[in-house]
Amino acid sequence: MQTRKHLRLLTLVIVVLMAATGCVPQTVAPAATEAPTQAAAATETTTTDSADVPVVKIGFVWPLTGNSATIGQQHSDGALMAIEEINANGGIKSMGGAKIEAVVYDSETSPDVGSSRVETLCTKDNVDIIVGCYNSAVTFPASEVAQRYSTPFISMGGVKNEITERGYEWVFRVNNKASYDVAEMLKGVDLCLQASPDTAAAVEADGGLTYALVYESTDWGSDNARIWKEEADKRGWTCVLDEPVTSGQSDMSAQAIKIKKANPDVINFSFYTNDAIVFTKALFANKINPRLGVWSVGGGSQDAAFYKACSPAEYEYSFVQEDWNVSMPYLYDWAAKISEDCYAKNGYYITSFFAQGWTAAKVAIAAIEAAGTNDKEAIRQALVNLDVKLEDCADSHIILTGYPEIKFDQDGQNTFSSGTIIQYQNGVQIGFSPLSAATPGYSPIIPIPDDFATRGSTSKPWGTAPEVK
């Protein structure tokens, strides 16, 4: 009886504590002049100084819990900091200094939840434009909801080709689609072979290039593997292992052993953070060292959390298709400033995900600025006509991702979206493809040295800028 009483008291305390915690919005910082709101309105992040200033609402749906939580959080951080910057600098000028209000929801990395949240943004919050949802599986049905409600939808993160291939006039995508990602990686492999003629000759002597595909069996992973295979077939490369893996693995030794047996020249993997960590550790533990390296299509390998969990030795020499120009902070002062601000606020320097969240929010804002109204059709038309160049971003800071340009084709796809192929050298990200994003004075290390005993011993911490040669 006594135990039961204590239990009741304990649960009561927990509920009260949780309720108290829930009343203090912590993550989202409104503009400097704005006061924090109550928890009930916590998702609506900004308010205006006076009732006369119009408000523009932008809805965001990111995976803030579930498998992609850390990735979604970085997207959200980027988008909210972009909005903060605009609000601090006078809001939307073409609308008399209208303030931007961000409404953020969690997709829980689930297609039906994501769709419901987009529907809530359209029906309850009446947002003017929506940005989301990172995961292709969530973005795909969620963007259909936006299309149904005739609300502009900017897809950020989702690479599934079909997102912008359904003839939907309200759906736009700023980032790469899967076929672009694969094309960049294959071009990167070509550059590696050019950089090391001896390796190229050895590969040729062994009967041509071989590769292994290891990927999570979701539509993102499968799509990437399918496109890679199609393109690699055209080049005459040989697939020696095609290994879909169920996400949520605690050990990938079995996959590592299969890879070791297949002995490919290139390993291409696509996993979100948790699986990427497990896979990378399994490769290192089994001393797997393909001569043309381990290539990741991004996903977990772009996540700051990945580099906290893995030692530099485990990711040394690996190639990552980063969905942004990693040299941005070194090439542009304004990008370096944002990176410093990001570190001060969030505890990490700009990542691909932060840059993508920032850029997507800025594109949404640029469209509203161009439309000069929050009429949805006018915003959609502004997106259709949008044409922003990187060199013109010194003041607007729109393209933090480093795409040379943002302009949508008739399908709503930004045809200028591109990433960077980087290799970790001494723990530092070295960009080498495309040439516009290449880190000056460096070239890829090929073939990968067999130096497991000493690998990573002199590596610098993740996030360290490369020394300019």
Binding site: V15, Q26, T65, Y105, D112, R117, K160, S217, T218, P244
Partner: protein, 344 residues
């Protein structure tokens, strides 16, 4: 029917009737956003009620029931996409196939009891999910692997099970839930229900009395799968996308089971009550905290679950019914006395 009969019929049911009237009428007068919550309430009530037919009455814990939801969704969607068959017809074909599939799956599973049965159903769910995710085609049928099935917009055609407004979706669900609850009530008050109750109470004693355990369990399984397949068709048509990683997921199975358990397994209206409690909590918490304090909504949801399990281990149905009956008795006691005085 005289006044006395009227008062007897409504006695103890006033709040239940009021609740059903709210579910029937209120969605007509609320925003689309609230209608969405009502749709989710009835969707999960439908799934949980179907789960309840086999698990609530038989007493086994199935944690893989989303498989049957997914099978229904896949079959009706494939019939629509590849054969241009209206989902209104496809849903019945899907239901029949799902029922047969459920019986086939039930045959080996019902040889097991307790945790072994629960573990087997988890394994089944994972097996089907992984199989679908990793196979583009099966026997020439294009399942589209991990990409899932995407249903194209038909332009709000009734024949294609696509409507312009949420309220139509809602009333389709009202009909499906009403049929499921009616079937549950009929089972509970039929010989099958008594047999299932006997099996749940003491399978050995039931068998010794001549009840064929496997036969009646499989009948319940078939009915449950038949009905949950309708929910699968609804899911596909409502969200216009069926992805194996979600529809066959363990999360979905657990969610369905929890709603029924919290509502009150083995009761006719318990799953509906569980959905009425848990779905709005989930939606409210997710909308309020999901974007700013990630994970908090799941944490609070967990606390609510713990509280319910601690203080209402048999579900909320009986305590809530008791509470409403006592309130009703207090509220209407004055009226009752005056009628009695008038009669004198």
């Amino acid at each position: 029917m005289n006044t006395k009969e009227h008062s007897n019929f409504f006695q103890g049911k006033v709040f239940a009737i009021l609740g059903l009237l709210i579910l029937l009428i209120v969605p007509n007068f609320v925003d689309t956003n609230v209608q969405i919550v009502f749709i989710l309430i009835l969707f999960y009530a439908l799934c949980a009620s179907c789960w309840n037919i086999v698990c609530g009455f038989v007493g086994e814990l199935s944690l893989g029931h989303a498989v049957f939801l997914g099978v229904g969704a896949y079959i009706s969607s494939l019939l629509l996409m590849d054969c241009s068959l209206s989902p209104w017809i496809g849903m019945f074909i899907a239901a029949a196939i799902t029922a047969v599939f459920g019986v086939i799956v039930g045959l080996p599973c019902f040889r097991l009891h307790g945790p072994y049965f629960a573990l087997t159903t988890i394994a089944l769910g994972e097996l089907i999910r992984i199989f679908v995710e990793n196979n583009e085609t099966v026997f020439g049928i294009n399942l589209r692997g991990a990409m899932g099935l995407v249903l194209k917009q038909s332009g709000n055609q009734f024949i294609a099970f696509e409507f312009a407004n949420k309220i139509t979706y809602y009333y389709v669900l009202v009909a499906l839930v009403a049929v499921t609850i009616l079937v549950t009530w009929l089972i509970k008050n039929s010989k099958l229900g008594f047999y299932l109750t006997a099996i749940k109470s003491d399978p050995d004693a039931a068998e010794s009395l001549g009840i064929k355990l496997t036969k009646y369990k499989l009948i319940a399984m078939g009915i449950s799968c038949f009905l949950i397949s309708f929910a699968g068709t609804f899911y596909a048509q409502y969200f216009r996308y069926v992805g194996p990683s979600r529809i066959f997921s363990h999360d979905m199975s657990v969610q369905i089971a929890l709603i029924a358990l919290v509502g009150g397994q083995g009761t006719v209206f318990g799953p509906l009550m569980g959905a009425c409690l848990l779905v709005p909590i989930t939606e409210f918490l997710s909308e309020e905290f999901g974007g700013t304090l990630p994970g908090l909504h799941l944490f609070i949801y967990g606390i609510v679950m713990i509280l319910v399990v601690l203080y209402m281990p048999r579900g909320i149905f009986h305590p809530v019914t008791k509470l409403f009956k006592s309130i009703e008795a207090k509220l209407f006691s004055f009226g009752k006395k005056s009628v009695q005085k008038g009669e004198k």
